[in-house]
Amino acid sequence: MLPPSTSIEKAIDYYIEASWKEKKIKPAVAADDNAWLRRVTLDLVGRIPTSSEAKSFLEDKDPAKKQKSIEKLIASPLHLRHQAQEIETFLMNGTKGGMSEYLTKAIAENRSWDRIFKEIILADESDASNKGSSDFLKSRVKDLDRLTNDVSVAFFGVNVSCAQCHDHPLVHDWKQDHFYGMKSFFSRTYEVGNFLAEKEYGVVKFLPNKGKEKQADFMFLTGKTVKPAGMTEPTKEELKKEKEMVEEWKKNKTQPPKPKTSTRAMLLELALAKEDRDFFAKAFVNQTWNRFYGFGLVMPLDQMHSENPPSHPELMNWLARDFADNGFNIPRLVKGMVSSKVYGLSSRYEGESTPLAKDFAMARLKPLTPMQMGVSLRLAGQFLTGNDQDKKIDEISKGSKGLADQFAQPTEDFQIGVTEALFFSNSNRFQTECLGEGKDKLVTAMTSLATPEEQADLAVWSVLSRAATSDEKSVIAGYLKKHGANPQDASKQVLWSLMASPEFRFNH
């Protein structure tokens, strides 16, 4: 394995290039500057670059301009919001709840991933800085099976739901003992009014598909077990007393006291123990890799087990070690991932046989997330000038939720439906929010330009964050001339065609 002193981007390039050599794969060329800037801006701050950002990047002759852009983007407040949203999506997708209050704060303070994990699982809001951290558990505590599986998927990349009913037929790692073992750690947790409480006792029993009912051990995915107190059933007297206490807490709306032994805290100890923290580190590395490279080192993301090895095992090991050794520092990992040459490859492949997704020899098309769509569409319809652009972008970004909600969250093998195309084509909302006229609006700026060629140039820079090719320029200019009776409408139609294009719809 490469030494720990290697930078993340160098390690990525080293291992991926080695695999190309071995498989005799010719990678795609590097993406051009504008494609690269659009990609990294969408990935780090969740929006397209403005035309002025795109132009100045292109003109910048500094050989270190990419690295400088990454630094600048990561340092921006929009990055923190975007990062928090991305993590919220993968933690909370499919639940009705959110946890932006806590995550926004945690990310802004650059809390490490293991700390965030601890705070979410301990869910102790008595410390004001952890407000909202219990939302992960609260939104699932009514369904312990789901809670068990969601924790395993989100933090360990392991879907154990199959093992709920039977030992995994093909994956020897997962037995019913693992599912019920994981469930045991959460089985003492329950809701009292708006608070979470944890009992001092309680075990999980289950009916294996062979044999008699058995009591689950408190078992982590590695098979390691712990034995907390309270393995026996409480007496009737104790239960009665507990019931009274619960009524009391409910009535007074108070946070129930912490238990002497928290089994959730015991799970944390097992999961983060130096020799066993691999699951935890690898799951986040894989999740993050999937986010930036459009395809995990292990796919599906929730199938990280011995029968389904990573496409690049050494790289996975190296990244996981690096992440753990450096204190599970999120921005450090993010920065490394977007700094590699592999990240910067073109999404277009000119050669004969297109490489597979798991070869990472070309950039993968990533459908924009709802928020990326909402913010980018609204931004594309603007023509921002003056010194307070950052502030304006921030306002646009904050007001984009409604538009964002019109789009579906991408999943693996995502399919875009006709509803989206109809929304673009016929809705008033799209027309008003993306193709409005007036101050700071692109339609108005476009029509104020003298020639159709200049208008074409501005349209492509603003929507696609790059210069128009000469063909595009003449096609658009031709369109504007043909529809010249009403210049505003003609401009809107051109902008519509660009916004509805796949080049806009994807991070490419």
């Binding site: 739901s161 039977h166 796919m299 000119e350 098309l365 399919q415 006709v418 139609q493 065609s497």
Partner: protein, 427 residues
């Protein structure tokens, strides 16, 4: 429940099938590639098939529809009448269906064990319960996938649900937005289906042509299933917009409109027929307010004759048009109603012994499957749950109920592993 997970795995041995699935999606010719996997005759059998689901939300009473028990303490005030099949009797509230019973099979032996509106609706729309981390597609999404064409110029899943009771339980689950329902919850006209006034036909067409040019340029050297679906979605826009005339009931001859009658439910069912006629594979028409915890008999006296009339008219209309052999009409609720009559003269939720009906395509008409006891307390013959009902519906349409979809590398059959269709119900 435990059966659902029998085939779970992340093993590499499924990679080939998975790639076949992805490959077909990537080429935008999902139909063609899947065709290779199934036999040609099976594929031909599916062609031109449609389902119209009459969804009786809230839970219709089996006693006042398909499984009357006149004279029993649980029977209520209504009598039963003879149907066109000797020996088969249904509620006197359904004289028209009794007279044209020849295309219908009534299933009287559903035991689905779930009496909660929300989760029972999901169960009866999906044929199974969601898993912790897997959302199943509902019947409409599966049929959109199975019977629809990728390039189809009509919607492939339309859902009318104008009442407020019991909404929000349909969905395409892991099949994704492509197969999700076109939901009509505010009016019978779909959202964003009409060209806005601010753009002329010509301009609308021109800007789409411009978009398609950008799309063609972008696709050079790039292959992705999602990219193909994006282009496919825009190619379908004109056809879908054109299909708005299908939703306009005034386009139907007055004579036919009179036959169906003037109610909202009747109009929606008529629109459903128009859609099926134009190749829409799945239409659900939701009719709410069956949840008769109080005044069960008045409620059913009002709702059942409407259902009877509309359903009988639909079947006759389909038959007249030669469509009945290819159209399956399903009447279904989330559950039935209790044998016991409560103090408000209502019947409560009951999922242990209730009824539904299947008519038309692939169904043995004029028949009854299953039996409840004298009071309707329990099933005594032919007990089935949601899974077998779904397997039967799929089989009637020529679809293999054990066909696999792939979620990641995991094969997920259309119905729970090992589920057999009810052959007595099938033609």
């Amino acid at each position: 429940m435990s059966k659902i997970r029998k085939n779970y795995c992340g093993s590499s041995e499924h990679e080939v099938s998975r790639r076949q699935f992805l490959g077909s999606a990537a080429g935008g010719i999902a139909g063609a590639s899947l065709l290779a996997q199934e036999s040609l005759s099976a594929e031909l059998k599916k062609q031109g098939k449609s389902v119209i689901l009459l969804w009786l939300a809230g839970g219709a009473s089996q006693f006042e529809t398909f499984d009357p028990k006149p004279g029993a303490v649980t029977g209520g005030p209504f009598q039963s009448i003879q149907t066109s099949t000797p020996g088969v009797r249904i509620s006197e509230l359904m004289p028209k269906m009794a007279a044209r019973f020849k295309d219908t099979c009534v299933i009287r032996s559903l035991n689905t064990r779930n009496g909660d509106h929300g989760s029972a609706s999901q169960l009866m729309m999906r044929g199974r319960k969601d898993e912790a981390s897997l959302k199943y597609p509902d019947m409409g999404a599966v049929l959109a996938r199975e019977l629809g064409k990728p390039e189809s110029q009509v919607p492939d899943y339309v859902s009318f649900y104008l009442q407020t009771e019991g909404r929000n339980f349909s969905g395409s689950g892991f099949l994704g937005a492509r197969f999700g329902p076109m939901e009509l919850s505010k009016s019978v006209m779909p959202e964003n289906i009409n060209k806005p006034d601010h753009i002329s036909e010509i301009d609308f067409h021109d800007r789409m042509a411009l978009r398609n040019l950008w799309s063609k340029n972008f696709e050079q050297g790039r292959v992705s299933g999602t990219l193909a679906s994006h282009q496919q979605a825009y190619l379908r826009v004109n056809g879908i917009m054109d299909s708005q005339k299908l939703f306009d009931v005034t386009k139907e001859p007055q004579k036919i409109r009179n036959q169906y009658g003037p109610t909202q439910f009747a109009e929606q069912v008529l629109i459903a027929r128009r859609l099926a006629e134009s190749g829409v594979p799945f239409v659900r028409v939701g009719r709410a307010w069956w949840d008769s915890h109080g005044q069960n008999f008045e409620t059913h006296q009002e709702l059942v004759p409407e259902l009877d009339h509309v359903m009988a008219t639909l079947l006759t209309d389909l038959e007249d048009r030669g469509m009945l052999k290819n159209t399956l009409v399903v009447t279904l609720s989330e559950f039935g109603r209790t044998p016991g009559i409560n103090s408000s003269l209502g019947r409560d939720h009951f999922a242990n012994a209730w009824s539904c009906s299947l008519s038309g395509c692939g169904i043995k008409g004029g028949s009854v499957f299953g039996k409840t006891d004298e009071r309707g307390d329990k099933v005594v013959e032919g007990e089935i749950g949601a899974a077998r009902l779904f397997a039967t519906i799929y089989k009637a349409l020529g679809i293999n109920p054990q066909k696999n979809y792939y979620v990641g590398s995991r094969p997920v059959p259309l119905t729970d592993p090992g589920t057999e269709p009810v052959k007595e119900v099938l033609a």
